[in-house]
C-alpha cells in the first residue's frame, strides 16, 4: 500500500470543490482511501488514526489544504495525483485530447525548450510578479499580460530587466508583435522598417493597422504597460525599448504612443531619443504637441502617428482629403442626417478598444455638447452612472465595471450587443458609433456577431417611427484572419457607415449630429 500527502499552502477552495475532488479521487482505480481537508489539528488527528499522516501533513498549518491519498502502489497514486492537479487547475481531464505538452512552471518549460528567449505570462495578479521574476532571472524577455501587479513589483521587475538588458513588457500588456509575430491581441500587418513602442493596447493596434493601410510596414511593436510613463516607473521600459530598437538593424523609424507622460519622464525620453541616430514620431495623445524638428516629429492622433511614421520611413503617403472635402462622404452624411427627427440629437459610442474610446472623446470634445464618458479624466466629462444617462455618451465597455465576470467585448461582443438594443430604445439617440478590432486574440467574426443586434436596433427605432444611424470603424487589415473586407461587407449590408480610421468615425458622427446653422 502506498500512502502520501500533498500540501497546498494557504489554499482556499470551497467545500463543494473539495468534496467533489474527494469523490473523484476515490473513483480512481487502485485508490483505497482519500481525505481532502484543511490542516486543522482534528483533521490531522484523523489522518494519524487512519495511518495516512506524513511528515508533510503533520507540518501543515490550519489554513493549508491537505490531500491525502492511499493507493495500491506508487503508479496508482501518481494517477490520482494527476487527477487532483487537473481538477484543482480546472483542466480538461479527458485523456488523449491534449494536443500539446503544457509545462507547469517556467523552469520545466525551459527544460523542454532551452532555446526559448521569451515568456508570455498570464496568471492571476498575485502570482504574476513572481513568475515574471523567475523568467527574467532565466534571461527571458517577458510579456506580462496579467494586471493587478503592484507598482513596487513593476519597478523591481523593470530594474531587473534593465540590469539584464531584457524587455519587461507590462504588467497589463495586451498587444505586441515581435519579429512580426503577434502576441496576445495583435493585427497581422506588413513587415517593414517602423518600430512602435506603446503604453496602450488598442492604440498600438490602431497605429499598426493605419501604417499597414498606408503601405508602411512594422518591424517590432513593443508594449510597455499603461503605468510605464508614470513618475513612479520613470519610463524605464520605454527607454529600454528605445535602446533595444536603436540596435535593431531593421528599425529606421521609432514611433512612441502613450497618454501624456509625467513631465520629468517626458524630458528623459526626449533626451534619449535625441541621442539616437534614428527618426522618431511621438504621439502623446491629447498633448497637442508640435515640432518642426525633422528628427523628432509629434503627432496628436493615432492616425497622424501612423501617417507621419510612414512618411518618416520614406514612403510617399497619398494625400487624403478630410471628410469636409470628401464629396461622396458629405453626400452620405447629408442623406443620413435627413433621416433623423429633431429629438434625435445624441451620440452613443460603444467601444471595445479603450484607447479608441479615449481618442474619440478627444476628437468630439469640441464638436458635441456636453459629451460624457466612463473613462474621462476630466470631472465634468466623467459619466456618473454607466447604466443611467442622457445626452452624448462614449463608453469603453472593456472597463472592469462592464466586464466583471463577463468576457471583454473584443473577445465576445454579446455584452455590447445588449447595450446596442438598450440605446435603440432611447428616442433621443440618433447615432451609434461602434469599433471592431480584428487580429489574434479577438473574436473570430466580430462584425458577424453584431449584425443581428444592429438589425434589431434599427427595427426598434422603426417601430417607433425613427431611424437609427450606425457608424463603424474596423481596426484590422486584409491579412487578419477575420479579413477586413469580409467584415466590412457584413456591416455595410446592415446599413452601417464605414470609417477609414477611428478619428474619421468620430468626425462623421459629429457632422451628422451637428446643428444646422
Amino acid at each position: 500500500m502506498y500512502s502520501k500527502t500533498l500540501i497546498k499552502k494557504d489554499s482556499y477552495y470551497d467545500s463543494v470543490t473539495l468534496m467533489s475532488l474527494s469523490n473523484k479521487i476515490l473513483n480512481v482505480d487502485g485508490v483505497e482511501d482519500a481525505v481532502v481537508s484543511m490542516g486543522t489539528a482534528m483533521n490531522k488527528d484523523l489522518l494519524n488514526n487512519i495511518e495516512m499522516a506524513t511528515e508533510e501533513s503533520e507540518a501543515a498549518g490550519e489554513n493549508d489544504l491537505i490531500i491525502a491519498i492511499k493507493a495500491e502502489n506508487e503508479e496508482k497514486y501518481e494517477t490520482a495525483l494527476e487527477k487532483v492537479e487537473d481538477l484543482l487547475d480546472n483542466k480538461d481531464d479527458k485523456k488523449g485530447e491534449k494536443k500539446e505538452v503544457k509545462a507547469k512552471t517556467i523552469n520545466s518549460a525551459l527544460k523542454d525548450f532551452p532555446e526559448a528567449n521569451f515568456a508570455v505570462i498570464s496568471v492571476p495578479g498575485q502570482y504574476a510578479a513572481r513568475e515574471a521574476k523567475i523568467a527574467l532571472k532565466n534571461d527571458l524577455n517577458v510579456m506580462l499580460f496579467s494586471d493587478n501587479v503592484s507598482i513596487e513589483a513593476e519597478n523591481e521587475l523593470k530594474d531587473l530587466a534593465v540590469e539584464k538588458g531584457l524587455l519587461m513588457m507590462g504588467p497589463d500588456c495586451g498587444t505586441a508583435a515581435i519579429n512580426s509575430k503577434g502576441l496576445c491581441f495583435a493585427n497581422k500587418v506588413k513587415a517593414g522598417n517602423i518600430s512602435l513602442i506603446a503604453a496602450s493596447g488598442t492604440g498600438l493596434q490602431e497605429v499598426m493597422v493605419q501604417i499597414d493601410k498606408n503601405e508602411g510596414g512594422v518591424a517590432q511593436a513593443i508594449g510597455t504597460g499603461g503605468r510605464d510613463l508614470k513618475k513612479e516607473i520613470g519610463g524605464k521600459m520605454m527607454i529600454q525599448s528605445i535602446k533595444a530598437l536603436a540596435a535593431d538593424p531593421e528599425t529606421e523609424v521609432i514611433t512612441l504612443i502613450s497618454k501624456p507622460p509625467a513631465e520629468e519622464v517626458e524630458a528623459k525620453i526626449l533626451k534619449v531619443a535625441a541621442e539616437i541616430d534614428k527618426k522618431f514620431v511621438i504621439c502623446f495623445l491629447e498633448s497637442d504637441r508640435d515640432s518642426d524638428d525633422e528628427k523628432i516629429v509629434f503627432a496628436n492622433t493615432l492616425k497622424d502617428a501612423a501617417l507621419k511614421s510612414v512618411e518618416a520611413a520614406g514612403i510617399t503617403v497619398e494625400k487624403k482629403t478630410g471628410i469636409k472635402e470628401n464629396k461622396e462622404l458629405q453626400a452620405k452624411i447629408k442623406e443620413e442626417k435627413a433621416k433623423l427627427n429633431k429629438k434625435q440629437k445624441y451620440l452613443r459610442g460603444l467601444f471595445g478598444g479603450g484607447t479608441l474610446c479615449a481618442e474619440a472623446l478627444y476628437i468630439l470634445r469640441d464638436k458635441l455638447e456636453e459629451i460624457k464618458s466612463n473613462i474621462a479624466k476630466n470631472e465634468q466629462e466623467k459619466l456618473a452612472d454607466i447604466n443611467n444617462y442622457q445626452g452624448n455618451v462614449l463608453l469603453d465597455m472593456g472597463e472592469d465595471e462592464f466586464t466583471l465576470g463577463k468576457p471583454h467585448p473584443m473577445i465576445e461582443p454579446s455584452l455590447r450587443n445588449e447595450r446596442i438594443l438598450e440605446e435603440a430604445k432611447d428616442p433621443e439617440v440618433g447615432v451609434i458609433l461602434l469599433d471592431f478590432e480584428l487580429g489574434y486574440g479577438s473574436h473570430s467574426d466580430p462584425a458577424g456577431a453584431s449584425v443581428k443586434a444592429i438589425k434589431e436596433a434599427k427595427k426598434i427605432a422603426a417601430d417607433d417611427n425613427r431611424e437609427l444611424i450606425f457608424i463603424s470603424y474596423i481596426c484590422g487589415t486584409e491579412s487578419d484572419y477575420q479579413n477586413y473586407s469580409q467584415q466590412a461587407k457584413k456591416l455595410k449590408e446592415v446599413g452601417s457607415i464605414l470609417a477609414e480610421n477611428n478619428v474619421e468615425a468620430a468626425e462623421i458622427a459629429a457632422e451628422i449630429l451637428a446643428e444646422e446653422v
Binding site: 481537508s37 484523523l46 493587478n148 472593456g398
Partner: protein
C-alpha cells in the same frame, strides 16, 4: 483583460456592527491586510490575527462584518493589495473605495427567547426538518443528521470517512448533552474537524451555540460549552476562529438569528428564512442548520427527561 487602467469602484457601505467600526478606526490608515477573497466576501486581518469581513449585499449582517450596497463580485481584488482606512473610507489599492458615511449600525439582538409555544414550534420544527432532509446530502454533518434524526443508514456505504467519523463524534456529543455528562472531549473532537474552509464541526457548533444562547432553556448549556472552549486554544482555520470567537460571545449572523426566532415564533415559518441559512457559504449553512436542529432536540430531550 483591461485596456486602460481601471478607475476603481466607489461603493457605499450599507450596514455594519460596532465591532467592525472599532477595528477599522483602530487601524486608521494602515494595519489591516487582505486575508482572503471570495466572490462575495473580502476578509481583512490585523496584526493580532483578528478577522473582519466586507461582504456584498447578497449576504446578511454578522459580527465584525460590513455589507456594501452592491451585488459586486470581488474577484478583482487580490491578497497583495494595500488596505487603508481614512476619512470614513476604506480603500483597497486603486480598485475599491467604500464610504462608511451613511451606513446603518446593525446590533446583535439581545432579547432572549423565554417562552416557546409548543404547538407552533412543533409545526415549524417539522417544516424545518422536512426542508432540511430534502436538501441534505451525506457530506459534512448530513450523514449524522440523516442517520440520527431519520434512522436513515442506507448511505453508510457511500459516505466518506470524515462524514462517518463526524456522525460518531456528533452522536456522542448529543447523547452526553442529553445525559448531562461531561462534554469536554466531545467538544474538542469536533473543533476544526471536517471538510471545508470552515470545517463542518465548527459550523455545527456555531448553529448549536446560537440556539443555546438565544433560548433561556439553553443558557446553562451555552455557558458550559463556552467554559470548555475558553480552556483550550481553538485550533481551526482563521475564518472558523472568527465565527467561533463571536459565537461564544452570543453573537452570530443575522440570518441565523432570524431562523431561530422564526422557529420559535407564533406563526408559520417561511421557507425563505430556512433557505437563507442553508445558503451560507457553499456547505456551511447546512452544517449550521444541523447544529440548530440538534440543539433544539437536545433541549426537548432534556425537558422531557425532567418531566417537562
Amino acid at each position: 483583460m483591461k485596456k486602460n487602467l481601471p478607475k476603481g469602484y466607489n461603493l457605499k457601505a450599507k450596514s455594519c456592527d460596532h465591532k467592525f467600526l472599532d477595528y477599522v478606526t483602530k487601524y486608521e490608515n494602515d494595519g489591516l491586510k487582505i486575508h482572503s477573497v471570495f466572490n462575495r466576501v473580502i476578509n481583512l486581518i490585523d496584526a493580532n490575527g483578528n478577522l473582519i469581513t466586507i461582504a456584498n449585499n447578497e449576504l446578511d449582517n454578522g459580527p465584525a462584518t460590513l455589507i456594501v450596497d452592491s451585488k459586486i463580485n470581488f474577484n478583482f481584488i487580490n491578497q497583495e493589495m494595500e488596505v487603508k482606512y481614512y476619512d470614513q473610507k476604506i480603500t483597497i489599492a486603486d480598485k475599491l473605495q467604500i464610504s462608511l458615511a451613511d451606513l446603518k449600525i446593525w446590533t446583535v439582538p439581545a432579547a432572549k427567547i423565554d417562552k416557546v409555544n409548543s404547538i407552533y414550534f412543533k409545526k415549524n420544527k417539522n417544516l424545518f426538518d422536512s426542508y432540511l432532509k430534502s436538501k441534505l446530502t451525506t457530506d459534512g454533518c448530513g450523514y449524522f443528521y440523516l442517520a440520527n434524526f431519520h434512522s436513515d443508514k442506507k448511505f453508510e456505504q457511500s459516505s466518506g470517512m470524515i462524514s462517518k467519523e463526524l456522525n460518531l463524534r456528533l452522536s456522542n456529543l448529543k447523547a452526553k448533552l442529553i445525559a448531562g455528562e461531561d462534554i469536554t472531549a466531545e467538544i474538542k473532537s469536533i473543533i476544526g474537524f471536517g471538510i471545508g474552509l470552515t470545517p463542518s464541526g465548527d459550523d455545527f457548533l456555531v448553529g448549536m451555540l446560537s440556539v443555546f444562547y438565544l433560548l433561556k432553556e439553553g443558557e446553562k448549556l451555552f455557558l458550559e460549552i463556552v467554559s470548555i472552549l475558553k480552556k483550550f486554544k481553538i485550533e481551526t482555520t482563521d475564518i472558523s476562529k472568527k465565527m467561533l470567537k463571536y459565537s461564544i460571545r452570543g453573537s452570530t449572523r443575522e440570518n441565523i438569528y432570524k431562523l431561530i426566532n422564526a422557529l420559535t415564533a407564533e406563526e408559520k415559518i417561511k421557507e425563505k428564512v430556512i433557505k437563507n441559512v442553508l445558503e451560507i457559504g457553499s456547505t456551511s449553512g447546512k452544517d449550521i442548520a444541523v447544529g440548530i436542529m440538534t440543539a433544539f432536540d437536545v433541549i426537548i430531550n432534556i425537558r422531557e427527561n425532567n418531566g417537562g
